[in-house]
């Protein structure tokens, strides 16, 4: 009888075991954007009183861990640039005139987004898949940060089975505290074979009443020399457009 029960449990668990979480996560990454790309985004911070602040961001990424993001608007933030090389991040403020090393949790603007959201690398580059399970219309991945330098210690990611794109991601601190929830929505065809959510909404129990929204305006594959992703080049990042 016991042997029969064990066999039955094993059969029921079979689909979950069959999911290759790492491969699935890599597919999610490639479905979200090409490995090397340029992108225009608008960030909207919506405050509890309904007032909004908007930022326009131009970013380029190469490979697994190289990224530059540049603020184009509003005028008070224009040409403020950030560079990410793996877990190294720098902020360039034109008036200060030199890049300053910052930590991944330091926010370069107000609102719920932090640097790790704005300069996000591939999920598979920063996280290991701890578990993968099969739900009705979605896969549920539990991800664990590869190093202590990653902004969120653990993620739970709901992946739509049909599109293999994330729908909801919960971000947790090492203490188990829920830091924020990311919701991907509005699938759009960006051309060049890129069909992905055009909106990312963020809410955080740590910032009650605040919402941040990221609107994707343009994403296209683009290759650049590695030297573009250096401190030397960062003050001239606006020339990349």
């Amino acid at each position: 009888m016991n042997k029969l029960l064990v066999l039955l449990c094993a059969l029921l668990a079979w689909p979950a075991i069959a999911i290759d979480g790492t491969q699935l996560l890599q597919k999610v990454d490639r479905n979200l954007e090409p490995e090397s790309y340029e992108m225009y985004r608008k960030l909207i911070n919506i405050e509890p009183d309904g007032s909004r602040k908007e930022f326009v961001l131009y970013s380029v990424k190469k490979g697994r861990d190289k990224m530059v993001a540049l603020f184009l608007d509003p005028p008070s933030e224009r040409d403020r640039g950030t560079l990410r090389l793996g877990e190294n991040m720098w902020l360039y403020i034109p008036n200060v005139g030199k890049p300053m090393r910052i930590t991944s949790l330091q926010s370069v603007i107000g609102g719920v987004f932090n640097n790790a959201d704005i300069l996000r690398l591939d999920y598979a580059a920063e996280y290991n898949v701890e578990s993968a399970s099969d739900e009705k219309d979605a896969y549920l991945l539990t991800l664990k940060a590869k190093t202590g330098d990653v902004a969120y210690d653990r993620l739970t990611m709901k992946v739509d089975k049909k599109t293999v794109l994330p729908t909801v991601i919960e971000c947790y601190a090492a203490s188990g505290l829920l830091i924020k929830t990311l919701t991907y929505k509005d699938i759009k065809d960006f051309g060049g074979g890129i069909k992905r959510p055009a909106t990312l909404e963020t809410a955080s129990p740590l910032h009650k009443g605040y919402t941040s929204v990221m609107l994707y305006g343009q994403i296209r594959a683009r290759s650049m020399p590695d030297e573009v992703f250096t401190l030397e080049y960062l003050p001239r990042a606006k020339e990349l457009r």
């Binding site: 405050e47 224009r78 030199k98 990653v150 250096t230 030397e232 080049y233």
Partner: protein
């Protein structure tokens, strides 16, 4: 039932919140942000301030000789415009700054180019630039001992733009896989003549300098060198590294040889004195779970005045009130180094800022402490920055100079100062 009502309210709020989001999506026009041949931006600012003066201070005696003021109102205005004109791999970049000040002693205005230089991006790995440039070397926030080619920053406002020097620079950069991720070499020539870069140092020198940068094992490391020229040779290094997702540490070390400075002689004359010295800085930036940012730095200014040297200066200024022959000496000593910011040897800097406390959006209060750890005097500056209005930044700052007699901050002319800075960006 309560639960149902609450759920309904949440749904309604969610729907209401979604309305502006949907509108925003319709108005995101990417073409408006594509690169143009000419781009420019800038700001204008107004800065009214009131100072409460300390009439028995030497600073007061130097600034308001023979006067009996207890406070002073000052009004200043400034405008800064930056722009870039592009043609292929060539570009011309500029930053112009104009300011005006109205105070009881009179009105004054100033206009100058902070930067105006041509740039040629030869390849992604190499660039050459010629013109007036504001180079920034070093990792320190309030001070930078390795910043050999720039005007000193004001630690009470280290993020202000500063005027550059006319120079020719070239830079090469290479990226690699492995522990050494980036290597770059910058070389610069800062020529001095009687009419060019006159405030850089003695005329008739080319002043070559180099900076070698490496990103090694996730640490920034710079080696800097300025050859003998208008001043003695200087070399140094700096580093910066993250020790976690919320802690950064940095440091600088510099050796300056044969540097000259103005020094009061035992007979209360003023003479140029040459010597070699070492300066260093150690600092960190820490972010707490509650979005409090702490910047802390310790600075040893090897070229600064000792406590006894500074005490002699204060004595000379005091004596100049009754001995008129000393007044020119006191004035020259003040102008040539004794009253420049952080003219002494050991300092500590602490800045604690809190992002949006108590859910007050767009508000960042902070408090900054700059302490002279030799004479235990200090400057403390509570301030609040509000950015809730479109393109507008409001900063209210109180500055309190505290210290005993013959101490750096105790001898400042203003005991307290309050200022409002209103800056409009365009």
């Amino acid at each position: 039932m309560r639960c149902g009502r609450a759920a309904g309210a949440v749904a309604l709020l969610t729907a209401l919140a979604a309305v502006p989001i949907a509108r925003a999506a319709e108005t995101f026009d990417v073409s408006a942000f594509e690169k143009k041949a000419f781009e420019w931006n800038g700001f204008v600012e107004l800065r009214p301030e009131r100072q409460w003066l300390r009439r028995d201070s030497t600073g007061y005696q130097l600034q308001y000789p023979g006067e009996t003021r207890s406070s002073v109102d000052r009004r200043s205005a400034a405008a800064e415009v930056s722009g870039v004109l592009r043609h292929g791999s060539l570009s011309f970049n500029f930053t112009g700054h104009a300011s005006g000040l109205d105070e009881p002693r009179g009105a004054d205005s100033d206009g100058r180019m902070y930067e105006a230089y041509a740039s040629w991006q030869v390849t992604p790995r190499g660039i050459a630039e010629l013109g007036k440039r504001a180079l920034r070397w070093g990792k320190g926030y309030a001070w930078s001992p390795v910043a050999f080619l720039e005007r000193p920053k004001d630690p009470s406002d280290p993020e202000l733009a500063r005027e550059g020097f006319v120079m020719a620079t070239g830079a090469l950069v290479r990226s690699f896989e492995g522990p050494l991720q980036t290597l770059s070499l910058m070389s610069a020539l800062v020529p001095t003549t009687s009419g060019l870069n006159a405030d850089f140092g003695r005329p008739g020198h080319l002043n070559p300098a180099f900076k070698l940068y490496g990103l090694v094992f996730d640490s920034d490391i710079d080696l800097t060198y300025a050859a003998r020229g208008s001043d003695g040779p200087r070399f140094g290094f700096d580093f910066s590294r993250n020790l976690g997702s919320n802690l950064e540490v940095h440091g600088e070390w510099a050796r300056t040889a044969d540097a000259s400075r103005a020094l009061l002689t035992p007979g209360n004359g003023l003479a140029m004195h040459t010597r070699s010295y070492t300066s260093s800085l150690l600092g960190l930036r820490y972010l707490t779970q509650h979005d409090t940012t702490i910047v802390f730095e310790l600075y040893r200014n090897g070229g600064g005045y000792s406590t006894s040297e500074m005490a002699q200066f204060f004595d000379v200024v005091r004596a100049s009130a009754s001995v008129s022959a000393l007044a020119p000496v006191a004035g020259r000593a003040a102008a040539q180094g004794y009253t420049r910011p952080n003219a002494m040897r050991r300092y500590a800097y602490l800045r604690v800022s809190q992002k949006e406390p108590f859910n007050i959006v767009d508000l960042t209060p902070s408090v900054t402490l700059i302490s002279n750890t030799d004479d235990h005097s200090y400057l403390v500056m509570p301030e609040a920055v509000y950015t809730g209005f479109d393109n507008l930044e409001l900063r209210l700052r109180l500055a309190l100079n505290r210290g005993g007699d013959s101490t750096e901050y105790g001898e400042r002319p203003a005991r307290s100062r309050v200022e409002l800075r209103v800056r409009y960006f365009f």
